[in-house]
């Protein structure tokens, strides 16, 4: 039986407290899927807000469940999504930051939760969002020499930008011996981000035909 969602706003003590603590940083809040509270915050202040949520005795969102991103396509801003859970208070909160396509960068929260380390790397790999202050921002799932861009963006075709033959050739030209130690990161400078416009699109037969 389909139960209609209660669309009316339910009050959330957390959201109210957050608004009181950071009047400028909370952009808006929503209730989704019936009972899930979502807060949009200003990406400039994500670390302060999240740190407050993590440490405030009334909130104590100490478990960072997930960090991910959503691309809606059509040039709309990308959303970075933090799923939080408070083990002591047994409550959940979803925090979102909207990033315009022209400036895909946000401060890293690895200093608050170590769990963010790999999760942010994954978002960087698949969406191309730069996490400022991340200790080790490089591709995690795709090969280091991957040059087709960031796969989970809506402008990325399902089969990749290069032809299958080119993808095979590039794959076999990977250096398997290459390894990576964090110390080598120093002096390498800021990670390279391929903006969508500049990513290589010119290869013919880009959908593998």
């Amino acid at each position: 039986m389909t139960r209609p969602h209660r669309r009316g706003k339910q009050a959330s003590a957390t959201v109210d407290a957050l608004r009181a603590a950071f009047p400028g940083a909370v952009v808006r809040d929503l209730v989704q899927s019936g009972d899930q509270h979502v807060v949009y915050i200003d990406p400039e202040h994500n670390t302060e807000v999240l740190d407050w949520l993590r440490t405030d005795p009334g909130e104590r969102f100490n478990l960072l469940v997930d960090v991910t991103a959503v691309d809606y396509g059509d040039g709309r801003p990308l959303e970075v999504v933090y799923q939080l859970w408070s083990i002591p208070h047994r409550k959940a909160l979803r925090v979102k930051c909207e990033l315009p396509l022209s400036r895909l960068a946000i401060a890293s929260v690895t200093a608050l939760w170590s769990a963010a380390d790999w999760l942010e790397r994954e978002v960087y790999d698949l969406f191309g969002i730069e996490f400022r202050g991340h200790p080790d921002l490089r591709r995690i799932l795709m090969p280091e020499n991957y040059a087709e861009g960031h796969p989970l963006r809506k402008d990325f075709p399902l089969r990749g930008r290069f032809s299958r033959a080119e993808q095979t050739r590039r794959a076999l030209s990977q250096d398997m011996e290459q390894y990576y130690m964090p110390e080598e990161m120093e002096g390498r400078g800021a990670p390279q981000i391929v903006p969508a416009e500049e990513s290589p699109t010119s290869t013919p037969g880009s959908t593998g035909r």
């Binding site: 790999w118 795709m142 399902l158």
Partner: protein, 425 residues
């Protein structure tokens, strides 16, 4: 060449299963010739194709002698783009992808996905469906823990538990096959219910399994739990405290072994888990041994839940009776115009989800398994994100393994219970 005096610890005491501490020389100091070796650290590469990494995981270890100075895991060798593929599929078409992600506990993934979509669409499934899904969830928790038990036992050098565990797993394979027709890739759920109702005799089959399974479990228990070698390989190895465990985002048995009592079934109950009588085992030290104990106890608790679920399995329809969600029966389709149209619409167009987003988590066998779905009003998700429990658990391995021996690194990796299909997605 330099010469060095070596004191040989006598192999007596804890390793031999006795209480005494091992006596340390100087009973027999031996002079050995020792080549002059450089003292710089050594790098070794384990994987991606290595039997001890439980998949295609690659670990680059920096060693000082045999001690691990640092570990850098490299993942992505099984990246199959599930999340991207999901954006091109209708909600029901995604179900077959979910069990290919965690092939050690396919039904848990089927159920978690269907539950998340139902939450997004605001569908309330039938009572029978709820209980059937709980049976699926708990059965596959045992299924997954058994594989973990068998392969981890091999990693510490015990082969027998592997055979015992696989024998029991074959029986669950059998149940999977009776339920869905497939041994691993079950794809058992649909939005709003299950692929089909339980086949006749299946519930009795499950009962037969849980009646006899605890005996095998006790046998494995007696082989490992007080086994001095197993204890020596696991106690105080890879320990992590409660604060650190939460900070690293560990969930599931790995978190509970550290003494944090967080279980989605208890803290955010779904499907009336609060009405089942079961305990959540919690460890103290957060080492490999506690993780082992927690999983062993979880299997027993799952058996208890299965008993209760089978007892209360209600009759009635298994799918919601809404023609926009559930397929009509084949007979209706062939005889009734309405049903035919519904069938056609459902297959060709799919089910529309509202333009909202939804995060739904279940307690998977490896930790909190979350599904985050963003709908756009159409029949396909804008984004389908899996909160991968073993991905986050694995990211703690560098912290856990530091300072341990290489052999212990293998044990720590095994004790985290990872599955690469879900880590790399």
């Amino acid at each position: 060449m330099t010469r060095r005096t070596v004191e040989i610890p006598l192999a007596r005491g804890a390793e031999m299963g006795m209480d005494a501490r091992p006596a340390m020389g100087p009973l027999a100091p031996v002079d050995v010739a020792e080549p002059d070796i450089g003292s710089e650290q050594m790098l070794i590469n384990i994987g991606p194709q290595h039997p001890a990494t439980h998949g295609v995981l690659r670990l680059i270890c920096e060693l000082d002698g045999e001690t691990v100075v640092s570990v850098t895991p490299h993942i992505g060798y099984l990246h199959s783009s599930f999340e991207k593929l999901g954006e091109y599929r209708t909600y029901n078409q995604i179900v077959p992808l979910t069990d290919r992600m965690d092939y050690l506990a396919p039904l848990i993934y089927n159920c978690a996905y269907a539950m998340a979509v139902e939450k997004l669409m605001g569908i309330e499934v039938t009572e029978r469906c709820k209980v059937v899904r709980i049976i699926c969830l708990e059965l596959d928790r045992i299924f997954s823990h058994l594989l973990w038990l068998g392969t981890t036992a091999i990693d510490v050098g015990a082969f027998t538990p592997f055979l015992y565990a696989f024998q029991e797993r074959e029986r669950i394979y059998q149940l999977h096959e009776e339920l869905t027709g497939a041994r691993i890739t079950t794809s058992a759920t649909r939005i709003g219910g299950m692929m089909s109702d339980l086949p006749p005799g299946w519930a009795e089959g499950v009962r037969g399994f849980i009646d006899t399974f605890p005996r095998t479990l006790n046998e494995i228990d007696s082989l490992l739990t007080t086994n001095a070698i197993h204890q020596g390989r696991t106690i105080d190895i890879g320990a992590i405290g409660p604060e650190d465990a939460v900070d690293c985002g560990l969930t599931g048995p790995n978190l509970r072994a550290s003494g944090v009592d967080y279980d989605v079934r208890k803290d955010r109950p779904y499907y009336d888990y609060e009405t089942y009588d079961f305990e959540v085992p919690v460890g103290e030290n957060g080492d490999c041994y506690d993780r082992y104990l927690v999983r062993m106890e979880e299997m027993r608790q799952s058996v208890a839940i299965l008993h209760q679920a089978l007892d209360r399995l209600p009759d009635g329809p298994i799918n919601v009776e809404d023609p926009r969600i559930s397929l009509p029966s084949k007979t209706d389709c062939m005889s009734d115009m309405e049903s035919m149209i519904h069938h056609f619409k459902l297959i060709m167009d799919g089910i529309n989800a509202p333009a909202e987003d939804c995060y739904f988590a279940v307690e998977g066998s490896k930790g909190e398994l979350g599904m985050y779905l963003v709908g756009d009003g159409g029949p396909k998700p804008v984004r389908w994100r899996i909160r991968p429990p073993s991905f986050v658990n694995l990211s703690a391995i560098a912290k856990l393994a530091e300072g341990h021996l290489v052999a212990d690194l293998i044990m720590i990796n095994a004790s985290l219970d990872i599955v690469l299909g879900e880590i790399d997605r």
